[in-house]
């Protein structure tokens, strides 16, 4: 086990920069998730830690040692690939023991370790089979087994669940979390799925266009997104974003929407009077009320029942927004619906830079 330090790391392919000056410090035993849309550089960063991509500038340290020039085989890390990358001509047992054979582990010890890993992952009955006879979930387990037999310094996961169906993904997600709890090995996990990121991570690193946008615990990113990108990337159903103008009204701060409607905000938002802003609020923070007083009016555009709750799409003449409520909603599409936006739950961003306004 080891800590991983990424210091001022950049990467470009020819003249095309893909990562800009990334700094990241991962503690020993921490589970860090790199999340972002495809092409944001998260996989590239992971592959640089693995040694599969060169580093254009900066330094990567594993366990305090600079590994920039170290071959992947000498970094003592394990990686789970999106494609599983099982060796098709080897049995499950040989797949799992390949790294041990390369390290000339005595065969008794090898058999012991492999069977321990197999029983942990429920693979005992598949050890003699070739990967092509296994289902997607079983292949995924073999790929994990191959990583854990060696007790590496760190686990790297490159979108390991993307090829599984939704049910299996949920199940494997829980297994990965349990595995990490049991083994406590430093892990870096790349995904574009913000649900995976939220549920698995000790800390999330949100990335976009090769730049780290925010680093923090899942709830940090959810409750205090540092910019528009993080606000709109994290959370499902996605956050509502509306254009507005920040207004000072004595001690109070108000946001005037295009429609002329005014939303009161927490009074300590720091911006100047007349500043163009974007105001964000989570669908679950929109309160659907029964009387029109003190709130806004819209009409029901769409009702999406989810079982757990209901997503109500509300339209007004100037904008559309989504509300998530836990109760059943039996409103008819087209009817009017009153709602409120609680001042304390607003996220206010500068319209030009997209940064969160300080409070």
């Amino acid at each position: 086990m080891a800590s991983i330090e990424v210091q001022g790391v950049s990467k470009s392919y020819g003249t095309m920069p893909v990562l800009h000056n990334v700094d990241l410090s991962i503690q020993d035993g921490e589970f860090v998730v790199l999340v972002g849309p495809s092409g944001c550089g998260k996989s590239t960063l992971l592959r640089m830690v693995a040694g599969l991509e060169g580093i254009t500038s900066g330094a990567i340290r594993i366990g305090g040692r600079v590994v920039n020039e170290l071959a992947p085989k000498d970094r003592d890390i394990a990686m789970v690939f999106q494609s599983y990358a099982l060796y098709p001509h080897m049995t499950v047992r040989d797949n799992m023991s390949y790294s041990l054979r390369l390290r000339r582990t005595p065969s008794e010890r090898m058999a012991q370790v492999v069977s321990a890993a197999a029983s942990k992952l429920g693979l005992e009955t598949f050890l003699g089979r070739k990967p092509r006879t296994l289902s997607g979930g079983q292949r995924q387990r073999v790929a994990m087994g191959r990583s854990i037999v060696r007790q590496p310094k760190a686990f790297l996961f490159d979108e390991p669940l993307s090829n599984l169906d939704a049910r299996l993904r949920e199940q494997m997600r829980a297994e990965i979390k349990k595995l990490h709890r049991d083994l406590g090995t430093t892990s870096i996990y790349v995904t574009h799925d913000q649900v995976e990121a939220m549920t698995l991570a000790d800390r999330i690193v949100a990335m976009n266009e090769g730049i780290v946008q925010q680093v923090g615990t899942p709830l940090d990113l959810y409750e205090r997104p540092t910019n528009l990108f993080v606000a709109s990337f994290i959370g499902s159903p996605a956050i509502n974003i509306l254009d507005g103008i920040l207004r000072y009204d004595g001690e109070h701060r108000l946001i005037t929407l295009k429609s002329g409607e005014q939303i009161p905000t927490a009074s300590h938002v720091q911006g100047h009077d007349g500043q163009a802003v974007k105001v964000g609020f989570r669908p679950e923070d929109v309160q659907i009320s029964h009387q029109a007083e003190g709130g806004f009016m819209g009409h029901v555009e769409l009702v999406e029942p989810m079982g757990l709750g209901t997503i109500v799409h509300i339209g007004t003449t100037h904008y559309a927004l989504k509300a998530f409520v836990l109760e059943r909603v039996d409103r008819i599409v087209g009817t009017s619906i009153p709602y409120r936006l609680p001042a304390s739950k607003l996220h206010i961003f500068d319209a030009k830079t997209g940064h969160r306004l300080p409070e």
Partner: protein
């Protein structure tokens, strides 16, 4: 529509067309065999009969016992076998490099290799003879192996490259993370999965060298270094062509090629990468 749901007439047409094609493609081979067992006195009198009224193996006996054919045969096996092995070794390495690495001048290299495939080889006979004569490579099997290797490497490289392209990069990356060097990952993970490609390349190069006539004829003038296509020409004399013996030699020449393909066909039809990655 599932195959079993198709009508009987569909299958009659389906197999009828296949049978026609197979008959069309194999008929010359059949004729080769037929002429080789036809005694000389019946060759012209029963010219268009599908099978002679009397058959004999006399031509085979003559070819094996009284001609230089066994020597030509041995020479051909040596030349084709060595060429196939050398070309496959080189093209496995170069094809891997083409498939996996980006290096300066790669486009130029590919372009040059394509150029070598573009013009008729007959243009090169004279310069190659001029080059080889002072080096003592004319009238030698080594000379032929060198020429055949040079001409087959570009195509074989493209062939091997396409097989390597079909093998996911993830596999060798996984091996390298597991603790293998790139060469070990190539040897233990990639190469075993490329066996069908290697078999195809071996087969392609072997048959190309086996049936090559132009350079074999031009670079070799002595019987002891002749290959069998040149040997076949020896059945053509100034006044007659000994068709029976020529065809018997031809049938014998088919045997190694057939054996070779029998050996490698297991790999040719095998899709080993199934199950490597999500499929």
């Amino acid at each position: 529509m599932t195959p079993s749901a198709r009508s009987t007439s569909y299958w009659i047409v389906h197999y009828g067309l296949l049978a026609f094609y197979v008959a069309f493609a194999l008929f010359p081979l059949y004729w080769l065999l037929k002429v080789s067992v036809t005694p000389n006195d019946l060759l012209y009198s029963e010219g268009i009969r599908l099978w002679p009224s009397r058959s004999s193996l006399a031509h085979y006996t003559f070819v094996l016992a009284h001609s230089d054919f066994p020597l030509f045969f041995k020479n051909s096996v040596i030349v084709s076998g060595s060429t196939a092995v050398v070309v496959t070794l080189i093209s496995a390495l170069s094809g891997y490099a083409m498939s996996r690495f980006n290096f300066g001048g790669k486009m130029w290299l590919v372009g040059l290799m394509l150029v070598t495939q573009m013009f008729p080889l007959v243009m090169l006979v004279a310069p190659i003879f001029k080059l080889f004569a002072p080096l003592g490579l004319t009238n030698s099997l080594t000379g032929l192996v060198v020429v055949y290797t040079a001409f087959n490497v570009p195509f074989a490289t493209f062939l091997m490259q396409s097989f390597f392209d079909g093998i996911p990069k993830d596999l060798e990356e996984a091996a390298m993370i597991d603790g293998a060097s790139r060469f070990r990952a190539f040897r233990q993970i990639v190469l075993p999965l490329t066996l069908p490609g290697i078999a195809a390349t071996l087969g392609f190069v072997f048959t190309a060298a086996w049936s090559e006539l132009l350079f074999a004829l031009m670079l070799v003038s002595k019987a002891d270094a002749s290959t069998f296509p040149v040997g076949l020409l020896s059945f053509v004399s100034k006044f007659s062509v000994d068709f029976g013996q020529m065809m018997a030699a031809g049938v014998l020449a088919l045997i190694p090629a057939c054996l070779f393909f029998l050996l490698i066909q297991r790999y040719l039809v095998q899709g080993l990468t199934a199950g490597a990655v999500k499929g």
